[in-house]
Symmetry: C2
Subunit: 233 residues, 2 copies
């Protein structure tokens, strides 16, 4: 199927004053993560450039970065395709994220910075509102922000970049399971437990709750493998 058929609406928001390559990257990335661009869908430089109203060069740069994220596969002289969801890569992304975020949250608990804790509580309040309104997109954005606050509060911006990169593989799986009832509330409760452990300065409890939180993905994969086999490779 051609890209143009299904995609023309969402990919048009490019501000010509700002650097184009990062905008294009974010644009395509979002479309891949929410599965509007399906796994194995072909992505041609030329067609994307035409749709976005830019030249092929910044599109190419965006695709290269997506390939490093493992979200697209580039086959030289053959084509570029949205990467299928590979279970092994999802599990590895989970491994990396868990290793990093457990170390991060331990450090946050050790420092026990009041400003950071206040920010986390503000985030929790916004999450609660999203849960109560069943605002899925709002919750997802705030979930991202919650984990961002954790890393940045202990000055680990590079670690956050790594987490964010591998998180792409996980988000693509999670978006398939989150609409199920009760999921959002469960995630909120886990975040709350993490913050409570941080506030108590209990780093080992913080790590334990974080691990439990992140390992949600295992249950998700299991149930999806049966239902949506076609999007896996």
């Amino acid at each position: 199927m051609s890209l143009t058929d299904k995609q023309s609406a969402s990919l048009l928001a490019i501000d010509p004053k700002l650097p184009m390559a990062p905008q294009i990257y974010g644009n395509i990335r979002q479309s891949i993560l929410n599965l509007r661009l399906a796994p194995k869908q072909a992505l041609s430089e030329k067609e994307l450039a035409l749709m976005l109203g830019v030249s092929r060069t910044p599109v190419r740069e965006a695709l290269i970065k997506l390939a490093e994220d493992g979200l697209v596969d580039i086959f030289p002289q053959r084509g570029t395709f949205v990467a299928p969801i590979r279970v092994s890569e999802v599990l590895e992304a989970q491994f990396i994220r868990e290793a990093l975020e457990m170390s991060v949250v331990a450090r946050v608990a050790e420092l026990s910075d009041p400003v950071a804790i206040a920010r986390l509580h503000e985030s929790l309040a916004r999450q609660k509102r999203a849960v109560d309104h069943s605002d899925l997109d709002g919750f997802l954005a705030e979930d991202e922000n919650f984990h961002f606050i954790l890393s940045v509060s202990v000055n680990l911006t590079r670690a956050w970049k790594v987490i964010q990169n591998v998180k792409g593989q996980l988000d693509r799986v999670r978006v398939l399971s989150l609409p199920e009832p009760g999921q959002l509330a469960a995630l909120y409760e886990q975040h709350l437990a993490i913050v409570n452990a941080i506030e108590a300065g209990n780093s080992s409890a913080a790590k334990r709750h974080m691990a439990k939180h992140l390992q949600q993905v295992f249950r998700t994969i299991e149930s999806l493998l049966a239902k949506r086999a076609e999007i896996f490779d």
Copy 2:
């Protein structure tokens, strides 16, 4: 100072049959890591392309990737420069590497795969030879391989990529301290302790030795900050 003056010899090994951008990336990266390209040195697309006998496009792609690694700073419409060694980024790279490699080595110890253990012993033997011959470059290559074996033996190739990326920040510091006498032998002993813990299936001991091993960088930074202040920012 111009690039052309000091760099013409080392940057010329480009094979035109293979994709150029990755070759250029590795080429420049190596030169930055061994400090032949000094921190704050200007790198212009045009000049690098001229020296390497290629066009500016693949050079640009290589520089973008190096910027993501934090090894160069790109200032749009102003110039691209070798990044100064920023202590905060070195420490964060250390944090990330430690979090990941401790989780990796724990998994290696839990699996206790005989093939992996054999490979690690072979690597140790090569390291021993390099130490006995005071072969610095040989040891560095085998050190890289040793850590590579750990990740790959438990199928964590993406984790290895992340480790390798952040390791750049650490290598640039380490290359300044490694020629000191006794350093190589100490690293070998630490590798040996790690393998022994793995062989015993003792994952917590493996983690402990790995942490001690990696934290060598703290002592290095301390001694360098005094002696070579000009390469820090």
